[in-house]
């Protein structure tokens, strides 16, 4: 049996080859141009951020050394040989962790409720008036772009030191972040139920209640749980500026070189974040079935 291969005549192959080479050359040229822009940016950024490779290499030992030190007790033995000494302040720290969790819970709740009230005014398909939509959207953008710790810094001065400033900072940031996600969710609904409810003469509020809410609630709940996870992490650093939670203890331990305390508090934070992640993941799975991770 012979196999016959059909082929183009040589002139045509040469022309196609040339066209291919030209196309590849253009692609390579574009890639090279992009790469050179990238390298220039990299160098500028390196100078701007005072990157010091030599200092880094000289001091990278400190990084390992730091972790070595935080895993040593004052007596010089490893931390895990004496857990009672390592976690000497566990009662105080657990209380602060509970405060951190409550802080993020209250902050998330206030943020979610406010975002819930605002988002329908920001969604293109539901907003009663374009001007109102514009104002609400800009407000949310502002809340989202200014980092929560900056709000915390200002609130600490206005409301005094303590967790209240942290709660309000987290709440405001959550309004911005959740408001955007909520309104995107509301923009993606099926408009037919809304038309149906409207055609019965329902008011704006009741058409939202009976046509929009049933469609968006699962998505809203899922986003809120995710936000709670993020807020737990943020709440753990609110104490850096005096806005409550475990951060205060951590920053004191780091600054005063209480090495074993640093590792103990860090470990407690990591474990808490793990537990919260697992719980919210489980809750999301129960509420909406698996694979619906927003």
């Amino acid at each position: 049996m012979t196999i016959s291969l059909s082929s183009y005549p040589p002139q045509q192959i040469a022309a196609l080859g040339a066209a291919y080479d030209a196309a590849v050359a253009r692609k390579r040229l574009r890639f090279a141009a992009g790469l050179s822009v990238f390298v220039v940016l990299l160098i500028i950024a390196g100078l701007g951020a005072e990157v010091a490779p030599k200092a880094f290499i000289d001091k990278i030992g400190n990084f390992v050394g730091y972790f070595d030190r935080i895993l040593n007790l004052d007596s010089g033995s490893r931390v895990w040989t004496d857990p009672a000494e390592w976690f000497w302040g566990w009662q105080k720290w657990l209380k602060l962790l509970a405060e951190t969790l409550l802080l993020s819970y209250v902050g998330t709740t206030i943020g979610a409720v406010s975002a819930f009230c605002l988002n329908f005014f920001a969604a293109t398909n539901l907003s009663p008036h374009p001007a109102l939509r514009f104002v609400v959207r800009r407000l949310m953008e502002f809340c989202r772009t200014v980092p929560s710790i900056v709000f915390a810094l200002i609130f600490v001065i206005a409301f005094g030191l303590g967790p209240m400033a942290g709660v309000l900072a987290i709440a405001i940031h959550s309004i911005g972040a959740l408001g955007k996600l909520y309104s995107e969710q509301a923009e993606n609904i099926d408009m037919k139920p809304l038309e149906g409810v409207r055609s019965t003469g329902a008011s704006w509020a009741s058409s939202i209640r009976f046509a929009v809410l049933p469609q968006v609630m699962p998505g809203f709940a899922s986003y809120t749980l995710l936000r709670f996870e993020i807020n737990v992490r943020e709440a753990s650093v609110m104490g850096f500026v005096g806005a409550g939670g475990i951060g205060q203890e951590l920053v004191v331990a780091v600054r005063k070189f209480f090495y074993s305390d640093v590792s103990a508090i860090l470990l407690m934070i990591i474990v808490t974040v793990f537990i919260i992640d697992i719980c919210t993941g489980w809750l999301r799975g129960r509420l909406f079935g698996t694979g619906q991770r927003a």
Partner: protein, 283 residues
């Protein structure tokens, strides 16, 4: 198909569950709602909320806002611009460093590359624990290692993003199509060839999109790590807030807003150019 009955009361009798939520379900929803509300009230009490404090605080806040207008940098505008440049550099370098380091590790965490759960599990938990620690905490740690300054900020952002990228990249790799990889294997390619020619062309655009998105969000993070002394505009901001120079504070906040909006704009354009409008990577 059964013909639809015209009498609603008959339907009601046949499918009571469709017309009225069950008592059990209602009670459960009510209990959850009440529980959540009670926890909220308890939280407010425990965290020392009080109406009096709220009112005085709001009054103070209103006074601050009045003092903030109009924004006025005084003579320190050039300093602020330099600090802003520092912030952008930190975000850019930190993200890139994290992405470079995370790519090989994410391969180890992907199910279709490392089938063994015993190897994959520790890598994943390691990435998770890095992610569980906030950027500001990493900044504190790195300041102890390389000293105060923006370089500590770059390393802090790189560390916390390393965890996030490792997870996102490995998910992108797991979502890749098997067929290309099998094609390479059929043509006699080794394991590394499979990754280079089968996987990378599929996942690189997705990864590039994610990196761009992170540069955007890291611009925000980089504005605050200065608060603990790791360089950038946050240092100026924290200082001006502490000395109550409200006009300078509002200038700095305005600069942050403008910078974030600009980066947002650029990276959205680039992202769409890379992956096309239809597939936004923001999950």
């Amino acid at each position: 198909m059964t013909p639809a009955t015209r009498d609603p009361s008959e339907l009601l009798a046949r499918y009571p569950g469709l017309f009225r939520a069950s008592h059990h379900g209602r009670l459960k929803a009510l209990a959850i709602g009440l529980g959540a509300f009670a926890l909220f009230l308890f939280g407010c009490w425990y965290l020392e909320f009080s109406l009096a404090r709220l009112i005085t605080g709001l009054k103070q806040l209103g006074w601050f806002i009045k003092l903030m207008i109009p924004p006025d940098p005084g003579t320190s505008f050039p300093t602020y611009l330099v600090a802003m440049g520092e912030t952008l550099s930190i975000a850019f370098l930190g993200t890139l460093l994290a992405a470079t380091l995370a790519l090989p590790v994410s391969l180890l965490a992907a199910r279709n590359i490392i089938p063994s759960v015993f190897l994959r599990f520790p890598v994943r938990r390691f990435l998770d624990s890095i992610r569980g620690v906030d950027t500001l905490i990493w900044a504190l740690v790195w300041i102890n290692v390389v000293g105060l300054g923006p370089f500590a900020g770059v390393l802090a952002i790189a560390t916390s993003d390393f965890g996030a990228f490792g997870k996102l990249f490995s998910e992108a790799i797991e979502g890749a199509d098997r067929k290309q990889v099998e094609g390479i294997r059929a043509a006699g390619g080794g394991k590394l060839h499979e990754i280079r020619f089968g996987l990378m062309p599929q996942v690189l655009p997705v990864l590039a999109g994610q990196i761009l998105y992170f540069i955007e969000s890291n611009t925000r993070s980089a504005t605050i790590i200065g608060i603990v002394g790791a360089g950038g505009i946050g240092l100026q901001l924290a200082e001006q807030i502490r000395v109550l120079e409200w006009q300078k504070v509002s200038t700095l906040i305005l600069m942050i807003l403008v910078a974030v909006a600009a980066i947002d704009f650029i990276s959205t354009r680039l992202r769409f150019a890379i992956i096309g409008r239809a597939r936004d990577v923001r999950h």
